[in-house]
């Protein structure tokens, strides 16, 4: 829509900020550019952090990946705070309608007990996986270099809290708000043998300090496998038996992952393309974490999808392999 408004025109002295003009020339900048570039302090640090005295507060050495310019890892979604909240708020409104419908019609709590048990065992424990991903995202936003990465990681951190809360709500829809599903799911997460590999790998990520490795482990490898396995294969298997009630509620997670993967892929692809050293590092991380997560997920795929579990896991791993090939990683 074009609205013609009479405006007074006075020729500006400059079109944009100097740091943006140096990068892109003196032309009007996008709000993403204004909100992102060079915002993190880069030189002339004052004090050594008591929590890491050998490094600076912001320090490029917190990852082994080396970039000439960390702002090369820009977000293809061009998300800054305002566009991010707008996008999430819109998705959440659409989800609210689904959730309300499911709640009013008792779509989950009226399911047969076996179906509800399957949700509680296979999906609700993933709220803890999401909380783990929140921790890892927060590690990246805390210790990465540059605003391009820190802000996207910070948004991903909050997204994961949102996903954890959404999965909790699915539990509450299944148990009629008693919270009993959350307690059972936590029990499974803490003690059921099929879940222990997953929890072990999440805890291993908690002690992984290199933030880029963490991005690879969590946002590329683990998320690719876990999301496709549960919100793809498990969901389809569930729908075949119990109808589509659940699928409508999981769509939020699927769409979110599709969107966020664009950012993750851009980061990994750009960093790997920067140098042979980066590519070797990232490839090594991918191989290690991919093997670890496949081992961790195998018993869970069997426990949640029975005879179809192994094939499902192979399929999501093959999809990951194709994705890695596009990123220039021979994982």
């Amino acid at each position: 829509m074009t609205v013609e408004i009479r405006t007074q025109s006075i020729k500006p002295v400059r079109q944009t900020f100097a740091h943006l003009a140096r990068r892109f020339g003196d032309k009007p900048s996008s709000r993403y550019q204004e909100a992102t570039y060079n915002l993190q302090s880069e030189v002339n640090r004052h004090y050594k952090p008591l929590w890491d005295p050998d490094r600076d507060i912001y320090d490029r050495r917190r990852t082994a990946v080396v970039m000439a310019d960390w702002y090369a890892l820009k977000d293809p979604r061009n998300h800054y705070y305002a566009t991010w909240t707008a996008a999430r708020s819109k998705a959440q409104e659409a989800l609210d309608t689904q959730m309300q419908f499911a709640e009013q019609r008792g779509l989950l709590r009226e399911l047969p007990e076996a179906a509800r048990d399957a949700i509680v065992f296979a999906l609700v424990p993933l709220r803890h996986y999401e909380w783990g991903a929140n921790t890892n995202g927060c590690h990246i936003s805390a210790y990465a270099w540059g605003t391009a990465v820190s802000q996207a990681a910070s948004m991903a951190t909050m997204d994961r809290l949102g996903m954890a809360q959404h999965l909790s709500r699915i539990g509450l829809l299944a148990d009629g708000n008693s919270g009993e599903s959350l307690a059972r799911a936590k029990q499974a997460w803490m003690a059921h043998p099929a879940w222990q590999g997953v929890r072990r790998e999440v805890e291993t990520m908690f002690v992984t300090r290199d933030w880029f490795e963490l991005l690879v482990a969590q946002a590329l490898v683990a998320d690719a496998l876990v999301y496709a396995l549960f919100y793809g294969h498990f969901d389809r298997a569930f729908a075949r038996q119990h109808g589509p009630a659940l699928a409508a509620l999981l769509d939020f997670l699927v769409k979110w992952q599709d969107e966020t993967a664009r950012w993750v892929d851009a980061c990994v692809k750009t960093a790997a393309a920067e140098s042979a050293e980066n590519r070797a590092l990232i490839t090594g991380w991918v191989m290690r974490w991919r093997a670890a997560w496949l081992t961790a997920l195998r018993p869970l795929a069997d426990a949640t999808m029975g005879a179809d579990g192994a094939a499902a896991l192979d399929a999501v791993d093959a999809a990951l392999g194709q994705r890695l090939a596009k990123l220039g990683i021979a994982g």
Partner: protein, 529 residues
Amino acid sequence: MSTAKKLSLKENYALLTRGLGWEPSYQPKEEIFRTTRFEGIKIHDWDKWEDPFRLTMDAYWKYQGEKDKKLYAILDAFAQNNGQFNVSDVRYIQALKIFLTGISPLEYASHRGFCILGREFEGVGPRIAAQMQAIDELRHAQTQIHALSPYNRYFEGMSDFTHQADRVWYLSIPKSFFDDALSGGPFEYITAISFAFEYVLTNLVFMPWMSGAAYNGDMSTVSFGFSAQSDEARHMTLGIEVIKFLLEQDPDNVPIVQKWIDKWFWRGYRLLSLLAAMMDYMLPKRVMSWSEAWEVYFEKNGGALFDDLARYGIRMPKYADVTVKEKGHVGHQLWATFYQFRHAVGFPVWLPSEEEMDWLSERYPDTFDKFYRPRLEHWRELEKQGKPFVNTTLPQLCQVCQWPLLFTEPDDPTTICVREESYLGEKFHCCSDGCRDIFRDEPEKYVHAHLPVSQIYQGNYFLPDADPSAPGFNPLVEALRYMGIQPGVDGGDFAGHADAVNWERWTGRPASMHEPMQTAAPAPDRKTA
């Protein structure tokens, strides 16, 4: 059909949040959370943390999304209508430069600090609270840049703000404040920023700033300010909750927290002295004096707060009495400093008009006429004679707050306060007893302070093409080049400054609303497209 149980907001929040964390068993907890023990703070039960907001992400997104929709509609309208030409006069815009170069980078630093807390705290509740504040602070940095962006297209001194924030001598004052907090442990950081700064002092930034923007017709700044206010209300609540939590967890925490309150109150107060100069000298239409603001927002409100905290064994911050003694002086002392060094700052500096001097006399009956008016009038006389006073030396900076040693003895406004300390055989200078105590407590930290003046003397503040052996080498000119300040373009005299000249040409109104036009006024070249 079965019906679902109705959940209260509190139950709902607890179910969606509290149980998310777990006791790890595959990795030791100390390896997962490595920074929560070295400061000496004892936490026995992280779950005792009371979530002040109970805000789940779905509500956060919708609430914040709605706010930003409104805010950006106003920012768009502001840019469309050339709102930057509708403010009181172009001196107001000089204050915005300090905001963009000095404060907006701190919002980002604050974002990173809360990201660290959001990762390192052991309890789910405090981590979520820190994460939400982290992303809010990112919002504040970004909305400020977006709101001020139209000004940058027309006025000098804002354009290279990210470069300047890391290099300009007086911007080292706000930067060192946050670096100090960021380099402490997580508990010191949250006490410093959430309690001492957000809870005790933030109203002082907020009320005069936003009212000042409103009085001076800056709808863009007013809008981001008021839009940030509901975030700030959450942050302030976090500040008081965190203090109560720390104090209730273990009596051994009390003296540690008191020491941090003492330190960060003084650190914050010194940082905010900048505001005193802005309120008293930079706003063409004034809201209240610094002295009045300090009375309302610290002496009264702060007094009540610390009375309330007495039951935990917390007393008023050390040297609170000194701030009261200084309230009639700091603004005048700071503005005089900026005036003397106006060739080395990022904005032009002026002497107050007759009308403004009278206002200062009235608001500061005990101090202005006696100590400050005569000097300003003398400088005005020198300007009239065409020999304006300039200080071409480099000032001695305080090792802690990094202001030049410009403040006077609390009980003697005619003597500059200087405190000298020795550490490992080297001498260091502080501007006050408050800063000296902070230095004494952690000298090993403050010897690392990056003092721009010392850096100039050491030859570190020159660009690679500068040649100190060249004839006529001027270290000050070269240092300004390093800092990203263009002499005579960014700073200097207000009379004849590009902003003043352009303002009169573009708006047809005087650059200072209390003075006649500086330039012979041609018809303004505003065209209607």
